[in-house]
C-alpha cells in the first residue's frame, strides 16, 4: 500500500503545483531581472539581491514586523487559549460566549479595517469621545505611532481570536477526560493539571497556531492596508506592504520578487528550526 498516501496528497499537490509552485519559479526567474510589468524582463544577474543587502528600508520593515510579532503573537496565542479553556467547560452561557467571540473573525479584514478606523479615528472617532466624556483631553490615537500600533494589535486580536479559539477548543475536546480524572485522584492542583496534562497533549495544536501565527504576522498586509495604510510615517508599514509598494507603486516587479523570496527564505528558516525543535509538533510519548 505504498501508493495510498501519495494518492491522498495528489489533489492538493496538483493545485499547489499549478497555482503556486510554477508561478513561484516564474517569479524566481523574475527576481534576477529588471521588469516593469510590461514588455520583456531585462535580466541583470544578482543585482537585485545585491541591492537588497543594502536596502535599509527593507530590513527596517523586517525588523518592524519582527517587533510586531514579538508583541502580538504571545497575546494572540494566550488570549484565545484562555477563552477556549473556559469555553469547553460546562455552562448554559457557553454557546453565547462562543458565538460572540467567534463572530468578529467572520468579518472581512476590509470591513474590520474600515470599522476600526471609524471607531478610533482621532477627530470623529467614538473612542476619543468616550475619553472626553471621562473629562480627559482628546488623545492622539491613529496619529501617534504607539497609538496606531495598539489599534492594529486590537483590531488583529478582535478579528483573530475566534479562529484560534475554536482550533484550541477542538484540541482541548480531544484530550480524553480519563487523564483529568486520574489527575484528580492524584490530587493535582488546577495549575498542575494544565501544565502536565493539558499543555503536553495540546502540543500539536499549539504548534499549529504558533507556526501559522508567525507566518500570518509576517504576511500581515490586508488589514493594515485599510486600517493604517502603514502610517503614521511608516510606523506600521510591515514587510509585505513594502514589497507590495515596490511591486505596484514603484513598479519594480523584479526587485519585489527578490524581496519576497528573501522573506520566504527567512520564514522557511524559522519554520524548519521550529519543526526540528518540536519534532513536527507531535505529542511526545
Amino acid at each position: 500500500m505504498k501508493v495510498f498516501p501519495y494518492l491522498m496528497i495528489l489533489p492538493n499537490f496538483l493545485i499547489f503545483l499549478l497555482f503556486i509552485i510554477i508561478p513561484f519559479f516564474y517569479g524566481l526567474r523574475l527576481s534576477f531581472a529588471d521588469w516593469k510589468g510590461l514588455g520583456s524582463p531585462k535580466f541583470i544577474g544578482l543585482a537585485n539581491y545585491i541591492e537588497l543587502m543594502k536596502d535599509a528600508s527593507y530590513w527596517s520593515s523586517i525588523l518592524r514586523t519582527l517587533k510586531y510579532a514579538v508583541i502580538y503573537l504571545p497575546i494572540a496565542i494566550l488570549f484565545p487559549l484562555f477563552l477556549a479553556y473556559q469555553l469547553v467547560k460546562n455552562s448554559k452561557m457557553k454557546s453565547v460566549y462562543r458565538t460572540i467571540f467567534y463572530w468578529p473573525s467572520m468579518i472581512s479584514y476590509i470591513v474590520v479595517g474600515i470599522g476600526f478606523r471609524f471607531i478610533f479615528g482621532d477627530t470623529t472617532g467614538v473612542v476619543n469621545y468616550f475619553i472626553q466624556l471621562l473629562g480627559l483631553p482628546k488623545a492622539s490615537i491613529m496619529t501617534s505611532s504607539t497609538g496606531a500600533f495598539i489599534v492594529l494589535v486590537l483590531a488583529s486580536l478582535w478579528s483573530g481570536t475566534g479562529g484560534s479559539m475554536i482550533i484550541f477548543m477542538a484540541g482541548l475536546e480531544n484530550i480524553p477526560t480519563t487523564y483529568y480524572e486520574a489527575a484528580e485522584v492524584d490530587g493535582a492542583t488546577p495549575f498542575q493539571r494544565f501544565l502536565h496534562i493539558t499543555l503536553p497533549l495540546l502540543k500539536p495544536t499549539l504548534f499549529l497556531i504558533l507556526i501559522t501565527g508567525i507566518i500570518g504576522v509576517f504576511k500581515t498586509y490586508g488589514m493594515v492596508s485599510v486600517l493604517t495604510k502603514g502610517g503614521p510615517g511608516d510606523a506600521t508599514k510591515f514587510v509585505v506592504q513594502s514589497i507590495y509598494d515596490t511591486a505596484f507603486q514603484r513598479v519594480r516587479l523584479g526587485y519585489a520578487c527578490a524581496q519576497s523570496f528573501a522573506l520566504t527564505f527567512i520564514l522557511a528558516l524559522f519554520t524548519i528550526i521550529q519543526f526540528r525543535l518540536n519534532n513536527g509538533g507531535a505529542v511526545n510519548d
Binding site: K36, D122, G230, G231
Partner: protein, 416 residues
Amino acid sequence: MKRLLAIALVVALALSCAFANGSSESAAKVKTLDMFWWSDGNEGIAMQKLIDEYETLHPEVHINIIEVPFDNIREKILMSVAGGEAPAITRTTEGVSNHCYEAFVDVSQYTDGEALKSQFVSSIESYYVKNGAIISVPSDVTANGLIVNKTMFDKAGVKIPTGPEDIWTWEEFREALRKVKAANGLEYAMAIDNASHRWSTMLYEFGGSFANENGGNFSSPNSVRAIEFTLDMFKEGLINPTPWITFEDAGILFRGGLVACQVSGTWNLQNYHDNIKEFEWCATYMPYDVQRSSTPGGKQLAALQGSGVEKEAVDFILWVTAKEQSQRYCEEAMFVSPRLDCAELNYAFCADDFAVFANELANTGSEGAFDWGYPGLSAAFGIDITYDWPKVINGSMTVAELCAKIDKDINDFMGK
C-alpha cells in the same frame, strides 16, 4: 470519496472550459470593446449614455464597461496585458499612465496628432504625451484649489477674495487663518488632502518643485521655503495633520465643520453641493507667494495594444472626447472639460466655483506638468513623500533629510 473528488475536479475543469469558449464565440459579428472603468460620482452614468448613443450610430460596435477598483487598476492592467487579455480601452489618470503607457496605443497613428493636441489645454500635455507618442486622450481635467467655509470666515470678519486681483499672499492667508481659528474656536483651521499631489500646489506657489529637467529640485531654496512654511503651519496648529498622518479623508473634516478650509479640488463640488446644508461654502483662489498655481490632474481614455480592436477603440475615444460629447459628459458629471472649445460650460450649479478653478488652471505654470507628467517619475518620489512628510511633522526626520531623500529618489530615477 476520492473518486467523487476526481469526478468533481474533471467536471469543474470541463465546465470552466465550456464557459471560457462560449464567451469568445458570440462576439463574431458585433465587435465587443471592453473598457476598464471606475467611478467617483455619476460619471459612469454619463459615460453609459454616450456609449448607448455611439452603439446606435455604430451597430457593429458594443462597448462593455468593466468596473475595476481604482486602488488596483494598475495591477489589473498589467495582469491583463501579460495574459493577452488586454481590454480595448481603459480609463486612466496620469499616475496610472506613468506605469502603463507602454501598453497603450499611440493615437497619432490613427489621426493627426498635432491637430488633436491643439484642441486641449496645454498644461496637461505631459499627462497624455509620453516620449512623443499620444498614449491617451483627455476626457476631463481637475484643478487643485481652495474651498472655504464662508460662514466661518464671515464670522471672523475675514474677507474672501472676490476676484483674481485681491488674492491673499500666503503670509496674509496665515494671518487670516489665525483669526478664523480663534473666532470659531477651532482646533485646526485648514486641511490639505494629501502630502503629495495636493500639497504640491503650495510647493509651486512658493516657486519650488519636486524636479525639473536637471533632476531633483526639492532642495532648492524655494522648495525648502515651501516646506518650512508648511511645517510652521503644522506646528502652529493651523493645519490639521490627520489627513497626512492617518490618510483620513480631509473632506470629512471640512464637511463636518472641523476645519474652515480645505486644499482640494474640483471633484468635491458636486459632493459638497449635495451634502453640506449646515453652512455656506465656496471655492476661492489659492494664496500665492512668488506666483499663483494650481496642479492640474484629470482622467484620460487610452486604447490598449493587442486587443485586436485598436482602430475601433481609438475611433470611440476620439468620438467621445470630441466637442459635443465632451461638453455633455462634463456638464452632466460636473467636470472641467480639457477642451479649449469647451471652456464655458453650463453647469447646473456651482458655476462660480468652477470659474474660480478654471482661472486657477489658466494661471498655472509648467512645474506640475513636469513633476506629474514625466514618464514614471511620480512613482519614484510619490511613495516617499507620502510616508516621510508625517515623519517631518512629528520630528523624527529633518527637512534637510527629507529634501536629500526625495532628490536622491528623483536623480536615481532620471539617471542624473
